[in-house]
């Protein structure tokens, strides 16, 4: 049985349903990201696991034990909050030691473990500082050390990086992931940042309106989105509505506007929505589908083209390989491999 097991977790606030029958199983040592837009219920789900919010229905089990009668201060869960929630009137060492103090760990052992925790997050020598004397990234690390030092059964990260600037955020993603592997702790990350979810987690659970719509390994979730919502939320996607002209042997011939193209896949329907990632579409000299560049955006490492075509508006990403950019208004031809397109359900 899974280490963390959520069954039918439901929470209503007034008339609105925040979490709607959520099921999730997480293995020991696994890192799962709950990804979704704000208001999709991901933070409420996390708070129900931590015990801050009582579910209206459903169960939370950790290592087979029902958590319903266990108050938050007895759950042995480490939580890192979006605001870090460090205690401003305590030093770094007092912050990190607080959880052990509550567990009546002897002072000598406490000091040793505080030192170890500070080394783990690379903050040796900061023990005597107050939180306000630290940068955002350092506060973040203290919050992580404070959550890990109690040797929790489960680590919950609630939008831990959203208050950091872009560069630091990328560093911390990797760092948190490495620390998580090092201490091998079961972790749930709540985030609205798809890149964060893809980089850090073993599995991504994409949430929409209180439900998990897809849960998969990051590569799987990105390449094979279950529906239009996932496809749009995880990265950029071109969604094309097309009629099925011909089908057979795992291959579909589709028509949109006056253009026809073939993709891998199968369907019973006569009309389908297909998703194609912008980076899978390439420019070709001949053949393919005619389009016209509406605007090109320079992103540093890549160009982002918005185009008009027979299939509707399309977005194409091309790596910045040093070549000249395609002028606005220029006619181009587009093509993609047959395995680049996914037929979406529903």
């Amino acid at each position: 049985m899974a280490f963390l097991d959520l069954r039918g977790l439901t929470k209503r606030f007034g008339g609105t349903i925040a979490v709607d029958g959520l099921d999730l199983s997480v293995d020991r040592g696994e890192f799962v990201a709950l990804l979704g837009p704000s208001g999709c219920g991901k933070t409420t789900s996390l708070h129900m696991v931590a015990g801050f919010v009582e579910p209206d229905a459903g169960t939370v089990r950790i290592d087979g034990r029902d958590m319903a009668p266990v108050p938050p201060n007895r759950r042995n869960i480490g939580v890192v909050f979006q605001s870090y929630a460090l205690f401003p009137h305590m030093t770094v060492a007092e912050n990190i030691g607080f959880g052990m103090e509550m567990r009546r760990v002897p002072a000598a052992e406490r000091a040793v473990r505080i030192g170890e925790a500070l080394s783990l997050v690379r903050l040796d020598g900061y023990a005597g500082r107050y939180p306000r004397q630290l940068s955002g990234g350092q506060q973040q690390r203290v919050a992580l050390a404070r959550a890990l030092v109690i040797r929790p059964d489960l680590l919950l990260l609630d939008e831990p990086l959203s208050n950091l600037d872009a560069k630091l955020r990328e560093e911390m993603r990797v760092e948190i992931r490495l620390i998580q592997r090092q201490v091998n702790i079961t972790t749930i990350l709540v985030t609205h940042d798809q890149a964060e979810a893809l980089v850090m987690s073993d599995r991504v659970a994409v949430m929409d309106r209180g439900r998990i719509v897809q849960i998969d390994r990051p590569v799987q979730a990105y390449d094979c989105p279950a529906n239009a919502f996932v496809s749009n939320f995880l990265g950029r996607a071109n969604l094309i509505r097309a009629a099925v002209v011909n089908r057979g042997q795992g291959r579909l011939c589709l028509r949109a506007g006056t253009s026809e193209f073939e993709i891998d896949g199968s369907t019973e329907a006569d009309e389908v929505t297909v998703s194609i990632r912008p980076e899978r579409i390439g420019f070709v000299e001949t053949g393919g589908i005619a389009a016209r560049v509406k605007v090109s955006l320079f992103m540093g490492d890549q160009w982002l083209y918005r185009l008009d075509s027979d299939l509707g508006g399309l977005t194409v990403c091309a790596p910045n390989a040093g070549g000249a950019r395609i002028a606005d208004g220029a006619p181009v031809r587009l093509a993609w491999p047959a395995d680049a397109a996914r037929v979406l359900n529903g």
Binding site: H47, G78, P88, H89, F98, Y130, R132
Partner: protein, 285 residues
Amino acid sequence: MAERKTTPYLLSAPALLVYSAFLAAPLIAVTILSFNTFTMATGIQPGFSLANYAEVLTDDYFHRIFLRTFGLALLVAAIAALIGTPEAYILHRMAPAWRSAFLLVILGPLLVSVLVRTLGWAVLLGRNGLINSALIGIGAIERPIEFMYTMTGVVVALVHVLVPFHVLAVWASLRRLDPAVEAAGLSLGASQATVLRRIVVPQIMPGILSGSLIVFTLAASAFATPSIIGGRRLKVVAMTAYDEFLNSQNWPMGAAIAAVLLAATLVIVLGYNRWVERRYAQAFQ
């Protein structure tokens, strides 16, 4: 750039003018008055004499009154803190709809004149007042408890009048509290009580201390409540100054008493502020 420099002064000039006209000017007038002399025969004589101050500072009669006043203020501030701090925290934890309703309940009394509220307490606390009648009625006591003209009565009424100021001060500092720190405390294994004691209270301490300072100064200078509930037997400084002005017609003496009260309160307030700032400097800057 010279224009830039004067702009702030010009902008604050209207307020400054009102402030000096209605606060500074009377204060200066009272201070000057306190150096004059007074006899029954000659009335107020202009001049510069420290006789009034000498009398206030050496006469045992005044010592008792000042001691009583500051003792009363200290007690009222302490009780208001004990009642007001939990009240503010409960308010803080309420659902928004309830919170606005109860905030109105707490602040409502401030809309009613102090005099009216104090007279209300006189009605409640009297020998045949509601409280005594009720206690006798249920057989809890046989003879009425003396509230009127006792320290107990004054303290009860003053606490009621002043507790909203404490609630407001604490509530303001609670609103600056990150709600996640309480959750963080819980998740680290602290009980709700420990979270309050170790995490919430230290962070709202500046609010508690400034609230009690407001209550203390207002209680020390209170006039209406002590004079109605306490009466002549339990004179406080404000009543003494009032009596000198209006009964003895000894304005210079009244002015000297007022000046000493102001000076003593200022010394206490500033000293307390310095202490609070030093005590909580590391964590709050």
